[in-house]
């Protein structure tokens, strides 16, 4: 089933003297209404994302602290001093390492689990609503409430350790420097999974059933169909899941703040954003915090570009 889209006749230049350019006649383009509709979001993006990002970059190159309106202070340009101050601190370097561990666990786990569960849900014929709600509830529940439950589950005398018995780690999960960050990664994966499952469920609706029928006719089993039809069929959704989970993961804050009591034990679960919070808001050094933030943005953009290049194909 193919369709051919031909150029509209009106766009074919007629013979004779060249007409005046259409663009000149339509300075707002061929669909000015589209601009109108997109304007509110464009303004939102400029005010809420672009302006703060630009301001952060400016702050990161100046000697800056928050002041009351009317306070006269010098804000001299300091070049890369704030970056040097930030990255001379071992705690900052460690926080980037911590978040790398987090992303290495969280992102692949999120993609694999959400795709598998979405595929299973898509095929389920009974209790589908119950299952969808079950997966989605952690996502819509406040982190503060869920964190308390996880602390009860994963503390020394918690349910998890009781089940594991002698296999439980010592010190326990949240105060173990090897296990604290992976535990947070598992927690975030579990909590966010419902959202990504919904993305994949939507994408799965767009995979033609005929492809599964053809694959079945060719002798492909369920597993072969999954890898030959489902995985390529939902590739745009996979790119989206990769990007969103990477960006949200790089912004990790609430979990180390609450689950491990401020990035403990001994900084093993401190994230760059937690350090930014400490430096920028608690310690009054927004310039150093901004420098950390700028580096974080650059790194996340780099990872996102790589993900888009290697997972996005040429769609």
């Amino acid at each position: 089933m193919t369709s051919v889209i031909s150029p509209p006749a009106a766009t074919v230049p007629p013979a004779g003297p060249p007409p005046r350019s259409g663009k000149r006649r339509r300075p707002l383009g061929r669909t000015p209404l589209g601009l109108l509709f997109s304007a509110p979001y464009l303004v939102f993006v400029l005010l809420v994302f672009a302006y703060p990002l630009g301001y952060s970059i400016w702050i990161s190159f100046h000697d800056f602290f928050f002041t009351a309106p009317g306070a006269v202070v010098d804000r001299p340009f300091v070049g890369f001093d704030n970056f040097v101050t930030a990255f001379a601190d071992p705690a900052v370097i460690r926080s980037f390492g911590n978040v790398a561990i987090f992303l290495l666990i969280n992102v692949p786990l999120t993609v694999v689990l959400s795709l598998l569960l979405a595929t299973a849900l898509n095929r389920a014929t009974r209790a589908t609503t119950f299952l969808r709600v079950s997966f989605y509830v952690p996502y819509v529940t406040a982190s503060v409430a869920v964190v308390a439950v996880w602390i009860f589950l994963f503390n020394g005398g918690g349910l998890v350790n009781q089940i594991l018995g002698p296999l439980a780690p010592d010190p326990s999960w949240l105060i173990n420097s090897q296990w604290a960050m992976p535990t947070i990664a598992f927690f975030v994966t579990w909590k966010q999974l419902g959202f990504y499952i919904l993305l994949y469920l939507a994408a799965l609706q767009g995979v033609p059933k005929e492809l599964y029928e053809s694959a079945s006719t060719d002798g492909a089993g369920r597993v072969r169909q999954f890898f030959a039809v489902t995985v390529p069929g939902v590739r745009p959704a996979t790119v989206l899941v990769l990007l969103v989970s990477t960006v949200t993961g790089a912004n990790l804050f609430t979990e180390p703040y609450l689950l491990t009591g401020g990035g403990g034990p001994n900084g093993a679960s401190a994230s760059p954003v937690l350090i930014m919070y400490q430096r920028g808001l608690q310690q009054g050094q927004p310039d150093v915090a901004a420098a950390i933030g700028v580096v974080l943005v650059v790194l996340v953009l780099g990872i996102a570009l790589l993900q888009n290049r290697f997972a996005g194909g040429k769609d």
């Binding site: 369709s3 663009k23 928050f66 202070v73 602390i151 009591g261 900084g267």
Partner: protein, 443 residues
Amino acid sequence: MASTPATKLTASPPRTSRPRRRATIATIVTVGAIALTGCASAGGGGSTDSRGDITIWYSNNEQEVAWGKQMVEAWNADHPDEQITGQEIPAGKSSEEVIGAAITAGNAPCLIYNTAPSAVGQFEKQGGLVDLSTLDGGAAYIKERTGDTAAQYENADGDYFQMPWKSNPVVIFYNKDMFAAAGLDPESPKLSTYADFLATSKTLVDAGVAPNAILPAPTSEFFQSQFDFYPLYAAETGGSQLVEDNKATFADQAGYDVADFWASLYRDGLSSQEQFQGDSFADGAAAMAIVGPWAVSVYKDVNWGAVPVPTKNGTAAADTFTFSDAKNIGMYTACKNQATAWDVLKFSTSEAQDGQLLELTGQMPLRTDLQTTYADYFAANPAYEMFGDQASRTVEVPPGPNTVEMMQAFRDAWSKSVIFGEGDVHTALDDAAAKIDQIAAKP
């Protein structure tokens, strides 16, 4: 399948787009530059001569709300032209962040009755606080009311950017029933020396009356050291601050002794490295707690006793220092009617209002004559008598704009070496002291 020509028609960029894009970028850059410049030049503020209505914020706990409401009511009844609007401090991760944001936004109220001394240096640096020393009789009033203790609340130039208001001297609470169950004397517990404290703790845990002898929060927030290390260091040194004359003081024998004591508690399983969800003392997860007088109204269901914090060789209660856990009053530069605010500040720290504070909250007004002025109160409430006495021997966090950074540096070292037992405790304190010296030297 879409044909190629159609795709080209819709996707190829117009040749005129580059100049337009440049113009757009130039516009964005210009607008951004104007906006950035504009941020630094906004104005506001009030005058020390102006009078009129003012707004104040107070803490949101039940007792302080009751005090705040009666104070506002009492003032408003006599000052129809200078009315106070009292509000609970807005919710946030901490009061200090809310106040910091309000300063930056220029909408801080005139007075905040919940200003942490650890944040005052930063607020001053931000230009958010009024120098009370410049107000009519300001410094004299503070010194007269608070006495020698007021010196701890001066900045490096000897000025007051905070009104010392109330303290919560930190002591050891213990559960009498648990002590009795463990075969210990609940009326005269052996808790004055480190050796006695450790032996008592071991008895309690071995007897199984509680899983922990004492359980201060083992988390990494900068302020947590005010409730484990600092009270004991103040007691051990007879009132030394963490930093004095821009030099860390704690890398000495007294600091080592305090750190070794706490390290023993963690190492021997008498305290936990894990944070407890809830109140460990009220919930029976610990037989002791290190708290201030606010705890009296909270631990109504616990049969408790209180003793001063321990020292290495034991110190008489009358000579024991501790951490103040004070909250003060700040007057903020966004205040339009600062003359009224100053009068309200004096009214709210008058003998009568301090008496109301004591009565309604159990927290200790930072006054020189506390026990004699309110002798009737302490006679009627013997549970608070010890705190009244202890209030005259308290130590504050070091002043200045870098207090929080210094406290965080200390906490990080403490967390690593004392709580989690990584590395040598004394070396960790030495390293933290060197780092804090550098931080203290910063402007």
